[in-house]
Symmetry: C2
């Protein structure tokens, strides 16, 4: 049956620029018959030649379908049909499709509609926690967790419980979807963790000058006690905030200021 089928790929392109995309993500998009992508990601993919310039698509180039937040259900149903008709479809997700991306929705819809015939593949990518940590040095080099501050699908009681547990037990915490309520999250963490632990607020990690958020690819090093005073650094979906632990340190060389969390507090003699 499925010999004549294509595959539905959910493709993580990382921050969106070619340098931090995997080779597999790029190939899947280039080889697809149809690419579903937001305007922003289309622009990124055109900039680096993964997609042809607008209006210059040749016969071998994929058909581009514009994706938008409210249309995910319809687009996924359309994608199922395209795959049944033999097309390879690349549904483009920023970062990694599993980390607050599209992969769960695709499987949830397949289950809901009893779509068992369509092959689905997830292509991983560099998520903001990793890209932002790399930009700042080594702040994530111990157990870490991610918490989304979006309350679209759940209440703040759940978000608060997770923040509190992570703060008490010394996870490095990376907050996603900070555009609203980040102050509330910081307040909760402050109840459990010292005010002098380092915090990094980062924007558009890996996007360099193409960043659309605040001032493009930047980060600010502050502390938990002062994080609330940096509202101007917190923009749209491109902002994440990393809250260090009591082991996290700031360290500056002649080039910049870094955040470092030594793994298990290890030092050089102990390695």
């Amino acid at each position: 049956m499925s010999d004549d089928y294509g595959t539905l790929y959910v493709v993580g392109i990382g921050p969106g620029l070619p340098a931090d995309m995997t080779q597999r993500a790029r190939e899947v998009i280039t080889d697809a018959d149809c690419v579903i992508a937001s305007n922003l990601y289309q622009e990124f993919l055109r900039e680096d030649g993964t997609l042809p310039p607008e209006g210059e698509a040749g016969d071998d180039d994929p058909e581009i379908v514009r994706s938008s937040m409210g249309q995910q259900v319809e687009l996924t149903r359309e994608a199922f049909e395209r795959v049944r008709n033999g097309e390879d479809v690349a549904n483009v997700s920023g970062g990694d499709p599993n980390v607050y991306g599209k992969s769960d929705l695709v499987f949830t819809m397949a289950e809901e509609d009893d779509v068992t015939d369509v092959p689905i593949e997830i292509v991983p990518g560099v998520t903001a926690a990793l890209g932002g940590a790399a930009m700042m040095g080594a702040p994530l080099s111990n157990d870490f967790c991610t918490v989304s501050l979006s309350d679209k699908w759940r209440g703040w009681d759940e978000i608060e419980e997770k923040l509190r547990a992570a703060a008490v037990s010394d996870f490095v915490i990376v907050l996603y979807n900070c555009w609203r309520n980040y102050g509330r999250a910081i307040d909760i963490i402050r109840e459990e963790r010292a005010d002098d632990v380092p915090v990094g607020i980062f924007n558009d990690a890996g996007r360099a000058d193409a960043g659309r958020n605040v001032d493009g690819e930047t980060y600010t090093v502050t502390t938990l006690g002062d994080a609330d005073a940096h509202e101007e650094e917190v923009g749209g979906m491109g902002t994440s905030i990393l809250v260090g632990t009591h082991e996290t340190e700031t360290w500056s060389n002649d080039h910049r200021t870094h955040l470092v969390t030594p793994r298990g507090g290890r030092d050089v003699d102990d390695f």
Copy 2:
């Protein structure tokens, strides 16, 4: 001063095969004057042409230095000197350098030796949690955390506290360094989380047939209550174990069995 310096890059190559490496990681390695890499990663990098075949290096190819676990301190000191002499050095880390990789050690040593002149850059990569999750479907599509089971640099009291906090507050948990004591970790999580929550044991995510761990790139879907009975699936450093939450479900189509954690428990009507 540093105009004549090179840069010390700590480069995450993901699982090690070219397809899941970022373009930037590949370019940094290809353009480096010196590449520090373990025998296994050298082999991966030679297989895909990022490094030339053994014994066939040309004048433009990087010098290869073999890395091994016990030598990290000496190799990093050597790297600092090479950068001062104008070389670009790529220190290759599997996965992402921040996630139980080498990046904290490099900064800790720079601080210890007061090496403020050497530019250090971290190049992020796809870590096992993301690569493994992609292979299994969408198990990570809600807040998640990583916990290393290595007690080389800390005691089990800290590991246990983190596991317990993560289990109580419903994080998806990805265990790294499972080769010993994974049974102990599972026992702790079982005290806080139901025995029927799905668990994925995965090996060599993204390494396809090149995997060296157990049977190469594979995953097994089981439950928390039965995880202990899968000792034969748990190999060396290439094994990770993902413990789902009460929202995680298994879902099979005609092709394979997946793990899915709907974000915030969302369903299709709610999107």
